[in-house]
Assembly symmetry: C2
Homo-oligomer: 357 residues x 2
Amino acid sequence: MSHSVLILPGDGIGPEIVAEAVKVLITLRDEFALNITLEHALVGGAAYEASGHPLPPATLDLARAADAVLLGAVGGPQWEALPIALRPEKGLLGLRGELGLFANLRPAILYPQLAAASTLKPEIVAGLDILIVRELTGDIYFGQPRGIETLPSGEKRGLNSMVYTESEIERICHVAFAAARQRQHRVCSVDKANVLECTELWREVATRVGRDYPDVQLNHLYVDNAAMQLVRAPKQFDVIVTGNLFGDILSDAAAMLTGSIGMLPSASLDANHKGMYEPIHGSAPDIAGRGVANPLATILSVAMMLRYSLAAPALADLVEKAVVRVLDRGLRTADIAAAGTETVGTAQMGDAVITAL
Amino acid sequence: MSHSVLILPGDGIGPEIVAEAVKVLITLRDEFALNITLEHALVGGAAYEASGHPLPPATLDLARAADAVLLGAVGGPQWEALPIALRPEKGLLGLRGELGLFANLRPAILYPQLAAASTLKPEIVAGLDILIVRELTGDIYFGQPRGIETLPSGEKRGLNSMVYTESEIERICHVAFAAARQRQHRVCSVDKANVLECTELWREVATRVGRDYPDVQLNHLYVDNAAMQLVRAPKQFDVIVTGNLFGDILSDAAAMLTGSIGMLPSASLDANHKGMYEPIHGSAPDIAGRGVANPLATILSVAMMLRYSLAAPALADLVEKAVVRVLDRGLRTADIAAAGTETVGTAQMGDAVITAL
Ligand SMILES: CC(C)[C@H](C(=O)O)[C@@H](O)C(=O)O
Ligand SMILES: CC(C)[C@H](C(=O)O)[C@@H](O)C(=O)O
């Protein structure tokens, strides 16, 4: 069976890093019998420039038809003055919402070869391996009502709505508990149940879903405490499950604990193995076009795609092992460069992974 | 002129640590001519047990009448099953809201004597001195509508509202810019303006207020990036200003960077120098009643009270210097104990500060 993969390079360094990941996909197709077809389309600022909208209908149609989407990154300073509805980010949020990609998996893994890059003491982060499961199609990102209104006094008032239904919470918690069964059998659910009723419901549902997984240990943390614990003792965590907004904040903090955010992939899944895959880092406009960006997070996103959407776990392992081998050889892009290693550009790094395959 | 100070010990370790801070206040009154009167009342879980409400009318009346409030901490596992409206936290939130304490100042300072306690590498945090200015009476903490409703389908739905008006944003930004003028003249405003309209308004207003302070440099970060930057390079920050929810999360992360959260005080101010002062750590039920908690954050909260509400900056300096002297002498409570130092209990630490005064 052939799988269709949609390639969305996006903005900033997106096109450069995606080009390397596409090389990997093509190598797997041509030399490892991976049965895929590739399509390309525009999203984000690039799509806005070409068509006036960050998520053109043609892109959305292709994304709906695809089995998996590979996204680079979106956004840049030139689009910051646009209204929220036209910003590059809206392209990304539109894809998440329209495709029903409610389950965002964000591993925060410390590669031993890159341990020195962390700002934390080695004993605090050595062996770090957290999986953050972030709900991605609900919460204050999508809640209505929202907007800026002018009060009778003439003063403006901004409003957003944090909303969760039981079924939305249930399905993401099932993803988290199921993932924990493949790992250390521990789930930490993060909320602000002492203040926000929306997350009081979250805690209630997480507790209920947890009863279906008696072999998985569940605990709850308030989001402020979770942010502290990530700094204090991140290795206490196995799987963290939380809402869209808290997940946005905590997953970036967790990623930065590793010191090598250029290495971290993510998957955003619907209920049927369809997924969008992207590096967790952004579009890095400051280094765009210079051929120095790290393509490994995007290549590792391909590995997640192989595992979750293309039913090719053996190839996923292969890609991950190739990345490790390249690190072992001492090759580093500028963001993870260190004494005694060889600094290479984006394309060289991609080529090195292909060779290692 | 005599100032009235209301003492609210609260729950958990609250009574123990507040007792030491009260010793400091009494010493300043009796030996340094500080003109104060002290009242005591119940708040939080302790008030709920005594009267069925975490913020009894009598406590609120005393708080309204006082020039300053010293609070220990509230909360504990025995009250977690209560509805949100009756939880200890509601006592704290009620005080903040009813007293109009919109400006929460949370310094995150690394004491050189305690540098080893940080989980971050010394070069990343040495000399760390951030002031987080958190809006405290708006945002999703107080926004309406809120609650859990049952949908026609029978499913429950939780809702909270993130709300800010221009004037609410303006006044907290003025506090931040004014504070920056006493410091490094840099303000970082944190929002999620690429997704949330409410914080798009925040950014607009922060930018406008910033024009009144041409000598202060303003930049903006998205909250996820801010969480990352706190881990990556915290010394880039001088003053951070943000809303109630983001401030809750980021200030706890920032505090933990120092490794000695038992040292960090906070002030919550209204528009007229009235304030509530409290350690930023919690009620630590696990060590309550054992006489081992660190009273220094509460004692340093007294210093903030002296500076902001009691018009006694010289005495504030005196208290802060006394704390430093005690650290220099090598005295440590268990939470900050290290090789080569002397571990002391809560009361001994309080006494040592009195002696150092
Ligand atoms: C770009 C932005 C809309 C997005 C988000 O907030 O979800 C990003 O920060 C992320 O985490 O993928
Ligand atoms: C106890 C809780 C309600 C409170 C808050 O969320 O504001 C606390 O975390 C704080 O930061 O002071």
